[in-house]
Symmetry: C2
Amino acid sequence: MTEGILQRPLEPPENAVQRFREYLASRPKPLRFTEAQRQMIHFIFSRHNHFDAEQLCSELDRAQLNISRATVYRTLNKLVSAGLLRRVQLGNRVLYEHDYGYPQHEHLVCDHCGKVIEFEAPQLEAMYEEVCRQYGFQPSRHSLVVRGICLECVRSRSPRRRLDWI
Amino acid sequence: MTEGILQRPLEPPENAVQRFREYLASRPKPLRFTEAQRQMIHFIFSRHNHFDAEQLCSELDRAQLNISRATVYRTLNKLVSAGLLRRVQLGNRVLYEHDYGYPQHEHLVCDHCGKVIEFEAPQLEAMYEEVCRQYGFQPSRHSLVVRGICLECVRSRSPRRRLDWI
DNA sequence: ATTCTTGCAAAGCCTTTGCAACTGC
DNA sequence: GCAGTTGCAAAGGCTTTGCAAGAAT
């Protein structure tokens, strides 16, 4: 459903764990590293895909990792703050993707099947830089989402497929 | 809070009404045009700004137009289907903006005050066209959102300002 | 020991929906 | 008069939160 990988070597989960511990320790009031967090990071960083919170909950369940919904949500927020995950809004869905060790990229999103394709667009920043200068606007990040129909969905011409993914 | 206008003449509300009636009539099962809908269209198309559903509800209240929340939501959906409004996701907020008679444009969004600045980027489509071809992806629309801090917020350096707009 | 984290259930927020009364065509 | 629209309140998703019990430092 949601995939699409820029061909980069995966950061090993241990590196992500390490970085997360540094983040926790560096806080004004240091936070604690727990077993649930370690399991979540290992689970998330041993694959590279887009996922939403509910998906993650059920996959963790299936993997016999008993982590409550509340903890999943709380940990996801911390992972975003730590810079390990990025929260991306693709269509109407909020998805998470790797941030740590992963380059800036944009998204093609299929309105039929929800598939996500990543691509890099290095010229993009230059394109809006001028406008920002003009307005005295200090850009910090951007997101380009292109919606449409992916090859497979065009081919299988399935007009009765669920369109409410996005 | 949310503004930013590409300098174009405003379509008069009557045109929007007209177009909406055509949309309603053109449906397989024709829909009805009601007083509540007329009031909403006049209200929305006599200004050009970004707004969310809740904002619109309270402004309609303030204008003494008694339209229920349910009707506001239902009518907004129809206006989007009719191509009069566009639903845009800016940061974490879902906003509506004029679509009918308004050119494609991108957004700068201030993370401090929520201000929205519109700009045109005609080169953008060419930029992702090549990637789409590569993947056999048929693009239908796109959205480029640049987040950062606007001039006024940089100047007033108000680090205690609410950051949870977006 | 202290203080953060967890799990649960409850509450929040935004949006949709079922139903009876109403209204456009 | 039929069929779509409205208002109300209730229900739906998804996410956050209060609290008591448990765990990390």
